[in-house]
């Protein structure tokens, strides 16, 4: 008997991806995750544009990680141009970054993953069966978006973030209001942890190389060094040693691998590598969720996101305390001196941990400050190879199940990675040959 699973465009993920699995006579004949997204040529678009425009262009790579792309872009330009940042800028950048992580994680936990566990096909029927859950999700997401809007000028595609600093500042009153809402939001955060602690995560273990940024003094989201769970450590400008990109015929995404056949980035990698730096309340949440490093079940990436939601809410409260204590000042961005650029130009790498993992922007700038070369390494690309390796390990364990159950296990695995392949809609098709 042949079982064939051919999910054309997996739903509730961001982008176009197909699952193709074929099992014949108890043997796995085929097992692929196809990325069928059109290449988008952002790196080419950047060439010839000023470093000042780069963050605004690249934030459009993603409607979810817009702040993440802008941040990586700004850090690449700032590192290329030797621009130092003020303490206030660092605090505001961290705060807006938390807003985006929260927005993205909440979307994934509630809108994309929860329907699988709560037995519905999407968030719309969930609104009828679990009204309070959906209302909570919307309430929390709104607060996350409001943080981004207050700090960076709008919910998505930050307008106030620029090379060297900010062009707009939240008022103390706005920050106090956000902080009060964050404190009030703890009840929703606890309810999120409690809900997720009841979810029956599929059982599946496969160890891999977990790769994330790391910093000596905090749970790393912006800057730091690259750390892998196999003990390798690299400065960010040596990123190519880890993210060896290679091409395969069935995917328009470039895959990456380091020492093993694949590597994993994202919330689970950060959790595994930087657990000790999580906020105490986040560690309590991890305990409730039954996760402690090293977690090797990829389905638990979502649980790691829940832990990060707790961390980001708590850290955002602390960051606002620090900003209010210092007093918000309207300060000019650090000036850039293009005269310092040598004839051969300059280059810089910016790295941050966006919701789905390490994001790297690498720019080369000419003497006029225009981009002469750009490289953007996107987390989902880094995860595709690992996802396929998980699928190959999982299929033999579930091949006795009916096709529909196999398909759900595989779709849930894909969703656990929260892949951001970019905007997609679509239907699925299952064939059962006998």
């Amino acid at each position: 008997m042949t079982k064939r699973i051919d999910v054309h465009h997996v739903t509730r993920v961001e982008g176009h991806g197909n699952i193709v699995v074929e099992v014949e006579g108890g043997q796995m004949k085929e097992c692929r995750f196809d990325v069928i997204e059109t290449p988008r040529f952002f790196e080419a678009m950047l060439r010839g544009r000023s470093y000042m425009e780069a963050s605004h262009i690249t934030s459009r790579i993603c409607g979810i990680c817009a702040t993440g792309h802008a941040t990586a872009s700004l850090r690449a330009s700032e590192n290329a141009l030797g621009v130092e940042l003020s303490e206030q800028t660092l605090l505001l950048r961290k705060l807006v970054f938390h807003g985006e992580i929260l927005d993205s994680h909440l979307l994934h936990i509630y809108m994309l993953v929860a329907p699988d566990f709560l037995g519905v096909g999407s968030v719309i029927p969930l609104a009828t069966t679990h009204r309070d859950v959906v209302l909570r999700a919307l309430r929390m997401k709104k607060l996350a978006g409001d943080i981004c809007a207050a700090v960076a000028g709008r919910h998505t595609h930050p307008i106030a973030m620029t090379v060297g600093g900010f062009t707009h500042f939240p008022t103390a009153a706005e920050l106090k209001d956000l902080q009060a809402q964050l404190v009030a939001c703890r009840a929703d955060v606890n309810a999120t942890v409690d809900l997720c602690a009841t979810l029956p995560w599929p059982k599946f273990e496969r160890d891999t190389e977990y790769v994330s940024l790391t910093k000596p003094d905090e749970y790393a989201f912006i800057d730091g060094e690259i750390l892998t769970s196999d003990g390798y450590r690299f400065p960010i400008n040596k990123y190519e040693e880890v993210t060896n990109e290679y091409l395969v015929p069935h995917s328009s995404a470039k895959l990456t691998r380091h020492k093993r056949e694949s590597l994993m980035v994202g919330a689970l990698a950060r959790f595994n590598n930087n657990y000790s730096q999580l906020h105490p309340r986040a560690k309590e949440a991890a305990e409730k969720l039954g996760v402690k490093p090293k977690v090797t079940n990829p389905y638990l990436n979502t649980a790691a996101q829940v832990v990060e939601v707790v961390h980001c809410v708590e850290d955002a409260i602390t960051l606002i305390d620090q900003l209010l204590t210092r007093g918000i000042k309207s300060e000019k961005p650090t000036p850039v001196d293009l005269g310092k650029i040598k004839a051969e130009g300059c280059s810089g790498v910016g790295a941050c941990e966006v919701p789905r993992g390490i994001l790297i922007h690498h720019y080369k700038l000419g003497q006029d400050g225009k981009v002469t070369g750009a490289n953007c390494i996107i987390p989902t690309n880094q995860n595709v190879g690992n996802l396929e390796a998980d699928m190959r390990a999982l299929v033999p364990l579930i091949m006795e199940k009916p096709v529909a159950a196999m398909q759900l296990d595989l779709e849930m695995l894909v969703r656990a990675y929260d892949p951001c392949i970019s905007c997609s809609v679509h239907v699925m098709k299952v064939e059962k040959k006998s």
Binding site: V10, M111, S122, I124, C420, S424, V425
Partner: protein
């Protein structure tokens, strides 16, 4: 009786030609001298967030380019309860939803405002571009004036 609080949302993507008509309409409305009971908002391309925006208003007006089978630039007003929000379950897979999905979610949560009115203007072109077509540009001021007369007088 105090005038009813009304939220007027402009919806659309100004990078896609006439799809920006709703955004341009609320920009024009915002320049008018609006009474305190009227709030206008550029809602861009809202998804799930729409629920949080509209839930506590007694009256919400949505201005958007809509394909209604009219001539380009012609506009129409209709009550939300007279149309069906088409949002198929399997299609909800992207990182956010769209206007129909946001409205469907609000409906499922029983959070649709008591008054929900659409003003749709028929687009000529929704290809890439930041300009409205002549047909839409010509008729938009009339639509804006109609809305002003109805809600802000």
């Amino acid at each position: 009786m105090a005038p009813e609080r009304t939220l007027i949302l402009g919806v659309g993507n100004p990078l896609m030609g006439d799809d920006g008509a709703g955004i341009e309409a609320v920009r024009m409305l915002a320049e008018a001298n609006l009474p305190a009971n009227i709030t206008v908002k550029d809602a861009a391309t809202p998804g799930w967030a729409l629920v949080e925006w509209i839930k506590d208003w007694p009256s919400v007006v949505i201005v958007d380019a809509m394909q209604m089978g009219l001539k380009p630039g012609e506009w129409q007003c209709f009550d939300a309860r007279d149309v069906r929000f088409t949002s198929s379950e399997g299609a909800i897979s992207l990182h956010d939803s769209d206007l129909a999905g946001g409205l469907a979610l609000a409906e499922a949560l029983d959070l649709l405002p008591p008054q929900l009115t659409f003003y749709g203007i028929e687009p000529e072109s929704t290809e890439h571009g930041m300009l409205l077509s002549p047909a839409v540009s010509a008729n938009l001021p009339e639509l804006v004036k109609y809305i002003l007369n109805k809600y802000a007088m």
